[in-house]
């Protein structure tokens, strides 16, 4: 019998017993009070029923300019400057870091007993990259694959809730050497479930979030600074491949649960704005993080809550670099399924996501793959997997998943037999493995 099944049988009665008998004498007093209170009239604000982008208008789609004259002047100056640059022949295409597109798959890393270990993609050659004290987790490889970032909580114990552990961000070379602390200090509030760190495309900087504060720091630990004004929290940063934007999930301060939505901000802290916010009454955003397409023109995000099923939305940049409103990808499987945790493939022609198994009581999921436009969603493998953000191999041939017994597997896109990489951490729930992508890029 599974632990979930036993919990189903055991917990209701135990909880009822644990709550004890209720003294409900106060209820009559409350009803006397409510009888004297007038009910509120139904809110008439039409904005509540409109998509956020429609109701927010141009301020969401572009910067609000308070003085038209100033805008015209700035435009003229900008045009003149652009003309001068063109005449001087100084314009160049942005030099991006090379590793966008296919590459070989290098080491596959994962957490085991609080350490970070790695194997070759065939599951052989197990080695320890980072070893104690405490717990190390959330590894994210740099784009070139020569370094990785990770969180370290020296006083934490494996199996505990790492969100309450004091953790700092570290960077190490690909073989685990050269470890150095990147964040100036240690603090709580790092997700142990979703990636809370993202490399800039040139691998020179890192964006990370801790306790709702978004910071940018050089990979050598210098020039750490937070970005974004007060007003809402910032978590789960995702640096766009073209380097111009950092996507993150934000939540208004003082709002304990609701209205988490997707924002974008420039790395210098400017142009901070919401991008996708679910519409209507109870609907809220997602905290599963965003996934950029390799060309930085589209972004996928999970949206959950409200009366809608958990689903995946996609937003596209238009030709001018603005954003079209989010478009929900339809859930295609029959029954009460939920789609979440989208991850764009290396080449950008498809994406993977998890889908709730209808009727499953153990909370298990399956890995699905769909084309970039959401068409042709299909089951990648029939095995049930644990909740774990899918991660594509650099050669786009595999998707990393975690089985219900904690085995890290690579699911081949061609449907062939999954490759067992290793057991995450027997004896714990193994959820720490979900934070970060664990496959190293190597030169093709």
């Amino acid at each position: 019998m599974t632990i979930e099944r036993r919990a189903d049988l055991l917990l209701p009665a135990v909880l009822d017993d644990l709550a004890g008998g209720s003294d409900l004498g106060y209820v009559d007093e409350v009803l006397v009070t409510t009888a004297r209170i007038r009910q509120r009239r139904v809110a008439a604000s039409i904005q509540r029923w409109l998509p956020m982008l429609d109701s927010a208008g141009a301020s969401v789609l572009g910067p609000r300019v308070p003085w038209r004259g100033l805008a015209v002047a700035l435009l003229v100056i900008a045009l003149l400057a652009a003309g001068l640059v063109l005449v001087a022949g100084a314009i160049r295409k942005q030099q991006l870091a090379p590793p966008f597109g296919l590459a070989q798959t290098g080491l596959v890393a994962f957490e085991s007993k609080g350490d970070i270990v790695a194997t070759l993609p065939d599951g052989t050659g197990l080695r320890t990259l980072i070893s104690g004290p405490g717990v190390q987790w959330g590894l994210v490889w740099s784009h070139r694959g020569d370094r990785f970032a990770y969180w370290s909580a020296p006083t934490a114990k494996e199996g505990t809730d790492l969100q309450f552990a004091r953790a700092s961000l570290w960077v190490a070379d690909s073989d685990g050497s050269g470890q150095h602390q990147v964040s100036r200090d240690a603090g709580t509030g790092v997700s142990d479930f979703f990636p809370d760190v993202s490399w800039s495309p040139d691998d020179r900087q890192l964006a990370y979030a801790r306790d709702g504060v978004l910071s940018v720091v050089n990979a050598d630990g210098t020039n750490q600074h937070s970005i974004g004004a007060d007003g809402h929290t910032r978590d789960l940063p995702a640096w766009s491949p073209d380097g111009t934007l950092i996507a993150y999930t934000g939540q208004p301060l003082g709002d304990g649960f609701n209205f988490k939505s997707l924002y974008v901000i420039r790395p210098d802290g400017s142009d901070d704005r919401p991008l996708i916010q679910p519409e209507g009454g109870y609907e809220i955003g997602s905290n599963s993080g965003a996934s950029w397409s390799p060309d930085s023109r589209s972004i996928l995000v999970h949206v959950g809550g409200g009366d809608l099923p958990n689903s995946i939305e996609i937003a596209h940049r238009d030709a001018a670099g603005g954003w079209a409103p989010g478009r929900k990808l339809e859930t295609v499987a029959p029954g009460p399924v939920q789609d979440y945790l989208p991850a764009w493939s290396t080449t950008g022609i498809r994406f993977a996501f998890l889908q709730d198994v209808a009727g499953a009581t153990d909370g298990s999921d399956v890995v699905m793959v769909a084309n970039a436009d959401g068409s042709d969603p299909r089951l990648l493998a029939s095995m049930h997997v644990a909740l774990s953000t899918p991660c594509w191999s650099p050669d786009d041939r595999f998707v990393r998943a975690v089985t219900l017994d904690g085995t890290l597997v690579l699911l081949p896109l061609d449907g062939s037999r999954p490759v067992d990489i290793g057991t995450i951490d027997p004896g714990t729930t193994g959820f720490h493995v979900t934070a970060g992508c664990y496959m190293q890029r190597r030169a093709p």
């Binding site: 209820v27 009454g281 959820f431």
Partner: protein, 186 residues
């Protein structure tokens, strides 16, 4: 009169209908609040806040069939508000056992109860809310996500974490392990 009719009448200002709804629901709300907050006084305050807000905001409820889920949501939010107030106090309120009721069916049941009690103590308020909504109020995980306003993925992860803490205590089959072992926690 069924619940939907009562809700519609209460939405229209019928306080007697509201009182009927409250008397049916309040026992479970009170127990759920006590489980989440682990403090009977705070739980009572939370339920009071819930009922007042429910009456005041009932006209805004769009779907009468969702009344219970809505009420659960209000309760959980009121509990979390109370928890936030508790955290702001200079002197932290001691989390105490809720009750010392005698368990008639022996040591195994008491061991299970003690284990769940210990796990609930270790969880934060949100974690307890998820356990209570799913296992005590019987909500599907997708509805828990709706009520708490968080993604289902987060619900699953936190529930798995809570179950993981109970793993050592309740995973062994009764036939394979002594009954007293069920109460041990690593």
């Amino acid at each position: 009169m069924d619940q939907r009719q009562l809700v519609e009448r209460a939405r229209g200002g019928d306080h007697d209908a509201f009182a009927q709804l409250v008397r049916v629901a309040v026992v479970r709300l009170d127990k759920a609040a006590r489980l989440i907050l682990r403090d009977p006084e705070l739980a009572r305050d939370a339920v009071q806040d819930t009922l007042i807000r429910a009456w005041r905001d009932l006209p805004k409820l769009r779907e009468p069939d969702r009344f219970e889920a809505w009420l659960h949501r209000l309760t959980v939010n009121a509990c979390l508000d109370q928890a936030r107030k508790r955290r702001r106090r200079v002197v932290e309120v001691e989390l105490t056992p809720i009750t010392d009721l005698e368990i008639p069916d022996g040591s195994a049941a008491r061991a299970d109860r003690d284990l769940v009690d210990q796990v609930l103590r270790r969880l934060d308020d949100r974690g307890r809310a998820i356990v209570v909504l799913h296992y005590y109020l019987g909500m599907p995980l997708s509805d828990v996500a709706v009520v708490l306003g968080i993604p289902i993925g987060t619900v699953k992860s936190r529930l798995h974490r809570a179950l993981g803490e109970m793993r050592l205590g309740i995973e062994p089959e009764p036939s394979l392990a002594p009954a007293t072992k069920a109460g041990q926690v690593a």
